[in-house]
């Protein structure tokens, strides 16, 4: 016997080690994912990313002829030391490093009565002739000016000037500003945030009533017969359908609905309708699980007091199951935020800064797909959006865990 023991100990140890190594591998993968995403995206995370548009708009503006001359505008006292102030033109510039690590010169402040405050859009388009607000954050691509002798010259980012140089050149040589080429800041995700909010709201608005009603029917009312069994199988099969197939379904089955409402292309409403169907099994399952936890005694008590079944469901059963339904809602929100394949088909991949229900737009996840599938994948922006999605999903999952613990506890 003793001779046999050694190999068994060794093989046992070896097998045990294998399980430890597998578990360690899972931890390594998770950590490396988090480290990669956070190390590449964290530098972009700031309020500007959330606030600004994705596409930067170029504008050529001209100043009002009567006011187009240097004056004397004292530097406002609340400006920081990093702002280069042009005293004659009443404008302050700052240096800025963009998302793409490009050196930019931005307008930081414009004096109230400065000539620049009278800027008018001269680029062709709908806005031609309309005044342009010289707000902080605009990129100064190029400022054309003529000096005292009438010679034309220019400064700005196209002249690779920094903020201090731009202000200095304006103060020293400019006698008249002929035109300015400015760009609004881009690379932001405001449009996608709004689209995602639309998507969550509309899809839940459709999926919640249908899903909860189905769950109540299946677990509270349905008798055991073939029709109800078929319904149940149908809903369960829905979970196994890959999301890209839902996308196909959306454009073929649901597109006529949105087209009847006036949509010409794929649109956010179509994405929301598709998401509503994707969410149905999730909502139904979590509602059913929550209903199962509610003790039968509560329903019996309500019925024996003379309440009807409808009253029992709406006043006793559903309120008791609320934490479970809520966690279903949170899981659904997580699903909407993370979904990409179905939405690429139904909403399109055009990043829209002015999203509307019947217009194209991208959710955050599709935004990632958009910037990654181009010629030059933008890893930084993709990682930054990933961080936002990850944090959002993690918070949702934690809340779900807490909620389900509360539901279990309240009936024990």
């Amino acid at each position: 016997m003793k001779t046999n023991r050694m190999p068994r100990v060794i093989s046992d140890r070896f097998l045990q080690l294998l399980t430890v190594l597998s578990a360690a591998l899972a931890v390594v993968v998770l950590t490396s994912l988090f480290v990669y995403i956070f190390s590449h995206g964290l530098s972009l995370i700031n309020a500007d990313l959330l606030r600004s548009d994705y596409w930067s708009l170029s504008k050529i503006v001209a100043l009002d002829e009567t006011r187009n001359q240097p004056g004397s505008y004292p530097r406002p006292e609340n400006l920081g030391a990093e702002v280069a102030w042009s005293e004659k033109w009443g404008v302050g510039f700052v240096d800025h490093l963009s998302h793409e690590k490009k050196q930019l010169v931005l307008i930081e402040a414009v004096a109230e009565n400065s000539p620049l405050a009278s800027a008018v859009d001269t680029s062709s388009g709908a806005n031609q002739g309309k005044p342009v607000a010289m707000s902080a954050g605009l990129q100064v691509e190029k400022i054309d000016f003529t000096d005292a002798s009438g010679t034309a010259d220019f400064t700005g980012m196209l002249a690779s000037a920094r903020a201090a140089e731009v202000a200095e050149t304006l103060d020293q040589s400019a006698a008249k500003l002929t035109s300015m080429f400015i760009k609004t800041p881009g690379g932001g995700i405001r449009g996608s945030l709004v689209s995602t909010a639309y998507l969550i709201l509309v899809s839940l608005l459709i999926a919640l009533p249908i899903g909860i009603a189905s769950a109540v029917y299946l677990s509270e009312m349905a008798k055991k017969n073939k029709v109800n069994a078929a319904i149940r199988t149908g809903i369960e099969t829905l979970t196994g359908v890959p999301s890209i197939v839902y996308g196909l379904m959306g454009v073929s089955v649901l597109f006529p609905i949105t087209a009847a409402m006036g949509a010409k292309t794929t649109n956010i409403l179509l994405g929301a309708l598709t998401m509503a169907i994707i969410l149905l099994p999730t909502i139904i399952r979590s509602t059913e699980e929550a209903l199962r936890v509610v003790p039968q005694g509560l329903r019996d008590a309500s019925l024996s007091l003379g309440a009807s079944q409808t009253q029992t469901i709406f006043k006793i059963t559903l309120p008791c199951a609320m934490p479970g339904i809520l966690s279903g809602i949170l899981l659904s929100i997580g699903r909407v935020v993370g979904e990409s394949a179905a939405l690429i088909y139904t909403m399109g991949t055009f990043i829209n800064d002015q999203p509307g229900l019947l217009k194209q737009g991208t959710s955050l996840a599709v935004h990632i797909w958009s910037v990654m599938s181009g010629e030059q994948p933008n890893f930084e922006l993709a990682c930054a959006i990933s961080i936002i999605i990850l944090i959002f999903v993690l918070i949702l999952n934690l809340t779900v865990k807490l909620l389900s613990r509360r539901l279990q506890k309240s009936f024990r």
Binding site: V29, G338, A365
Partner: protein, 313 residues
């Protein structure tokens, strides 16, 4: 006294209550019917649109079904749509991922339930849950950034060339990571459900704890573990965005070289999606239909295998 009672018992009210009950029941049944019939609607419409290009009288010039199913060339620009090699590629990548993820997932599940010390257990469970909750597009970014450079490193070690790391191997690694939490969590449930008496019996017969875990616990949980594998495989087949980021979209095939670029059914459906009419768009429905058929067939065959090897549960 009597008049008091009469005021409270109102037969009309009871009838009204019953009527609302019936209406509510009908409305709720309708909701359930809508939810249950979605799958029928999906299948029907995709079937209809999917077989359209093969029918005579199709508006954009018909495609031969035989050439479509057995073809080994996919050129959207030339209007050549052969999907045979793509099916083989999809099978290779999905089963490759399963082969890689399955043993690791089962061992991890065993570690979580039986071997891990008490404080580590919930921690590992959270790790698996976190992996499961990460959206696929984030996995795609991770794969495009990290897995491809890993593959590039491996390729240069082996002395072969890759297209920037986008390769069959990258797809397999990515899918393995993505299906790992699915298989693990189902395996954990299956292992936790094993009757403790079985283990005690094994221990009493003189087997060591580890022998019991591997020979008794895993054997009696194998039906549930297999169910996890089937679910994981389904996810591997249907995964689209993340795979499309690292697949590389090869035009011909099939791809057997791990370091060569590949093309799966899902990445084909996403590639070059621009117009919303025409053959190039409609053929995606045929590919989607084929994807559903592939998933169904592999599910059926795996369920058959499960019945053969399982313990009749």
């Amino acid at each position: 006294m009597e008049s008091n009672l009469k005021a409270r018992i109102r037969p009309g009210q009871a009838r009204r209550k019953q009527r609302t009950d019936r209406t509510v029941r009908a409305v709720f049944f309708l909701a359930a019917l809508i939810s249950g019939s979605c799958i029928v609607l999906i299948t029907l419409f995709i079937l209809m649109k999917g077989i359209q290009p093969f029918l005579p009288g199709y508006a954009y010039g018909s495609v031969s079904l035989k050439d479509f199913l057995l073809g080994t060339l996919w050129r959207q620009d030339q209007g050549v749509y052969g999907v045979g090699f793509i099916v083989i590629n999809t099978l290779i990548s999905a089963f490759g991922a399963l082969l890689l993820a399955f043993p690791i997932a089962v061992l991890t599940a065993l570690f979580i339930v039986k071997i891990a010390p008490k404080p580590v257990k919930p921690l590992m469970k959270t790790v698996v849950e976190l992996l499961a909750s990460i959206p696929s597009v984030v996995y795609g970014v991770f794969a495009a950034g990290v897995i491809t450079s890993l593959v590039k490193g491996l390729a240069s070690l082996a002395g072969v060339s890759t297209a920037g790391g986008s390769s069959l191997l990258a797809v397999i690694l990515l899918l393995a990571i993505m299906i790992f939490p699915t298989i693990t969590s189902l395996a954990v449930t299956a292992i936790e459900a094993v009757d403790p008496d079985l283990e005690l019996g094994s221990l009493a017969l003189g087997a060591s704890a580890t022998q019991t875990h591997f020979k008794v616990v895993l054997a009696s949980a194998k039906s549930g573990i297999f169910a996890g594998a089937i679910l994981g495989l389904g996810r591997a087949f249907g995964e689209a965005t993340a795979v499309a980021m690292v697949a590389g979209n090869k035009l011909f095939g099939p791809t057997f070289n791990l370091f060569d670029i590949t093309r799966t059914l899902t990445s084909t459906m996403l590639a070059g999606l621009k117009e919303t009419t025409g053959l190039d768009y409609d053929i995606r429905f045929s590919v989607g239909l084929l994807l559903m058929v592939v998933i169904l067939l592999s599910n059926l065959s795996l369920n058959w295998v499960k019945k053969k090897v399982g313990n009749g549960q």
